[in-house]
Symmetry: C2
Subunit: 139 residues, 2 copies
């Protein structure tokens, strides 16, 4: 069992009366080159998005606006992390089952990913995820 399937990163903030700025350098501020960026928006308040995991992909999840809960499970440890500040990012290694819930109205969930989109990298069945964790593969 690994202890560090996920961790919270505090990003730099350049404070200014005209707005705050947070910058993220690929492979420096986050531990991977940023190959892909995606974001969720127009999410109805309270909405929930179902879970999946990735065989290899690493990601950082950021509440760029508003707040939401990130439900994390690496097959050994479960944790729900509330993201509600734009200068925090939740770094996830591969093989972490995650769901998103409890969105505030107007929230924007920004995700930085270590690889381009690859459908074969997704694990969408929780039982398969548990089997892969038990087998010790994809660590």
């Amino acid at each position: 069992m690994r202890n560090d399937s996920w961790s919270l990163i505090q990003f730099p903030v350049v404070k200014d009366d005209r707005g705050n700025l947070t910058f993220i350098e690929g492979a420096q501020t986050v531990p991977f080159d940023i190959k892909r960026v995606y974001y969720l928006y127009d999410v109805p308040g309270g909405a929930h998005r179902g879970g999946h995991a990735h065989k290899d992909l690493e990601q950082v999840v950021i509440a760029a606006s508003g707040s939401f809960d990130l439900e994390l499970d690496d097959g050994h440890r479960q944790q729900t992390v509330t993201l509600n500040r734009s200068y925090y990012g939740l770094y996830m290694k591969n093989m972490v089952w995650r769901g998103l819930g409890n969105f505030s109205s107007g929230a924007c969930c920004l995700v930085l990913a270590s690889q381009h989109y690859l459908e074969a990298d997704y694990i969408r069945d929780f039982d398969e995820f548990k089997r892969l964790v038990s087998s010790g593969k994809n660590k």
Copy 2:
């Protein structure tokens, strides 16, 4: 004079009742590898942020939440572009003087950049920018 110092990109949208998702693949959806991501938030409604240009950097600017105006000037052509949808990005080549203004309350301005931060790449003086444009350098 080049005609294409900037252009609007419409990103893909995966529509869903639980929120919409837009994804951006580095060097595919945008014309450069994403080396750096930064975002402006906690911007007071109506705030304005002064201009600068970059000698080499290319960027894509996105209104991830809310709206704002992007004021663009390549030394030959001036245009103000209002960004107010999360699935549009304004691609800027190098040597474009830009300002940001007319922020809506709660707006989040997300920027993807082609290079890591380099102070020497910034042009912070408009007269120097005009001189460099006239000299034809940095095209």
